[in-house]
Symmetry: C2
Subunit: 386 residues, 2 copies
């Protein structure tokens, strides 16, 4: 392999594909990025793959000799990022000695790589369901629910986000067993998808790992929103294609819990209040609640049209805050993990929010008011002894 | 104690004095800040003290009842910082139950404190030598040398910065045994000090702990530079006084090594080059050097008027960079810990720098060119086998 390319193109590409390189690779070659130069296309293709998430991109290069090799992602990326952009970079690899030499105006580096043959193939789906989607909508669908997934690997499917496609829209959902976030985007596929007859579209759902989705969300939010992104979904695999980039992500196996049955049908108490004021009060109360067990209580005072948010961090101190609310129902008291509340309230895109609940032991639901976004955040209360 | 004050004044004061509160206090009360309200002066005085560094400041408050108590610095500071600034804050303490209640527009907090009697007295020096100094000059003197002090507590005096006062200027020096940074500020005291007859001034030096100086440096660099800061120096203690703030710092005991004898009298090789280019080359080379043992080599090529900076990270890779230099002397090769070089080069305030050395086993000295700052950075080379 012999080529010359721009430092800034190579740097951007390396930063992108490195997102799919594991910090703790199970095999040495998975700490590397795959470089493949093709004289015919004049492209240098870069790939990172942690066996779950794969990212591939290409840059234009002046290629004297085709070839492929893998290089340590972190080390190679760091040196390239520190080189100046004022002259082209020359890369030469010797596939036998597995050495890559790169020369810039100021110096020359030789880095030991590994054979490209050892690098696993990216699983590309070419059949299955295909969709076109606005990257911003997809990024929002992921961001609004991802935080509610579990970080405990033992919880398997709950470490992912469940996406349901029905031919017209997407429903994104995540739960860790204590809280559940669901965003429903309706009528977004019918405008853009390439399925001619949506009545033939069979509703299906897939659960993707949150760790990989976090990287995809960053990628999507930086995409050009005027261009739809292509999704190919097949058993166990989703592939995103956008211009020069291909992203593959392996789905988690198993059937996701039927979360819709968790939602109570009716609510006897409905409170409406300002989201930012509520967040500010919770953040102050959290300073004390975090010292003890993260528990805060919310008590209504229907006559005064306020709620009292309080915490008791035993020997350390106590705090309470009042917040004006509009209130329908009976007086009640309910307790939550303050961190769960703050996580969900921060993603709700609305100034006013609604808290719907029945009592201190049944699920409470936070939702936006006057928003065109169909979002709910269900939180299980904490049982308190009086 | 009963008072009301502004949230923003209290917040600023708490952030400042908290810098002197230890993260790992040896006694519970040292995790607290001391609050003392005086009805007569109308001031609330706040103090943080880790037994080495002490910071005291005062804010105006409307005081109904004098009194004093201590409160957990971190917790109290965090809640206060999150309160809004749109209404005054009311603080009431019950010295018997050791509870403090503070009320803002949105809520009320009660925090458990500790008796003020248990809080150690700040050692205030009122005799000894007194000086007036520009805070910016003092902050630069600390910043330019502090990084070279040792982080190993077993090295005692070397964990500090040695300051020498001779009646006209200050010399600041720090060494960890592998490198030495010395900044000499001449003729800065004669303009501003309050000593009537400087010929009577006896030269003396004091070593202050780097950990505390790091906080003082931050404080000084935020000071109004048009107002001199007052220093009172007595056996074992330095006190800085500026408007409402008093900072005390306990000196390290013992006599600091006579570092001036480490400086070679003459140099057979003198190189001059661009500081930023040298730093950029070292930072690239460091990516590889950090993988192995941080060692980089510098070799002169007097005919080509360049130096070659290289590293060999064994199985990982090798790198070299060339840099134009102006050179006087014979060809030589010398090796350094790249992190030591970068630490020192980053504080040198000059575009052009000089490297003076005799050979691969004797101290090398970096110094600024065309700068009015009298600074040297001495680094011991690493012995290399060929």
């Amino acid at each position: 392999m012999k080529l010359s390319c721009s430092q800034s193109d190579l740097n951007t590409a390396l930063q992108l594909v490195s997102r799919a390189v594991s910090n703790r690779p199970t095999h040495p070659v998975l700490a590397n990025v795959l470089l493949a130069a093709d004289e015919v296309t004049g492209k240098l293709r870069l790939t990172g793959f942690d066996l779950s998430l794969g990212i591939q991109t290409s840059i234009s290069a002046s290629i004297d000799e085709s070839g492929a090799i893998t290089l340590p992602a972190k080390l190679f990326g760091e040196i390239i990022s520190k080189l100046s952009n004022d002259s082209p970079l020359v890369l030469t690899s010797d596939e036998v000695s597995q050495q890559v030499e790169f020369t810039s105006k100021s110096g020359t580096y030789q880095v030991r790589g590994l054979l490209s043959d050892d690098f696993p193939e990216l699983p590309l789906v070419e059949s299955g369901t295909s969709l076109k989607l606005n990257p911003l909508l997809l990024s929002n669908a992921i961001k609004s629910t991802l935080f509610a997934s579990s970080t405990d690997d033992a919880k398997q499917l709950l470490t992912g986000v469940n996406l349901t496609f029905d031919g017209f829209g997407i429903e994104s959902a995540a739960t860790d067993g204590h809280r559940l976030a669901v965003l429903n985007l309706k009528n977004i596929l019918s405008q853009t998808n390439d399925i001619n007859n949506s009545s033939e579209f069979e509703k299906f759902s897939i659960t993707l790992p949150s760790k990989s989705l976090r990287e995809i969300e960053k990628f999507l939010s930086a995409c050009d929103t005027s261009q739809p992104i292509n999704l190919f979904i097949d058993k166990g695999q989703v592939v995103f294609i956008s211009f020069d980039e291909i992203i593959t992500i392996r789905a988690l196996e198993g059937s996701y819990p039927n979360y819709s049955q968790l939602l109570p049908d009716t609510f006897s108490n409905i409170l409406e209040f300002d989201r930012k004021e509520f967040i500010a009060s919770l953040e102050r109360i959290a300073v004390l609640a975090d010292q003890h067990n993260n528990v805060i209580k919310i008590a209504t005072d229907s006559s005064a049209k306020i709620i009292k948010i309080s915490t008791d961090a035993q020997d350390i101190g106590t705090g309470f805050e009042s917040l004006s609310v509009s209130f329908k129902g009976e007086s009640f008291q309910i307790a939550f993990n303050v961190r769960y509340l703050l996580d969900g309230l921060k993603v709700i895109d609305s100034n006013l929010i609604r808290l719907s609940c029945n009592g201190p032991t049944t699920p409470a639901v936070f939702s936006p008011i006057n928003s065109d976004v169909n979002f709910i955040y269900l939180v299980m209360p904490i049982q308190i002894r009086n």
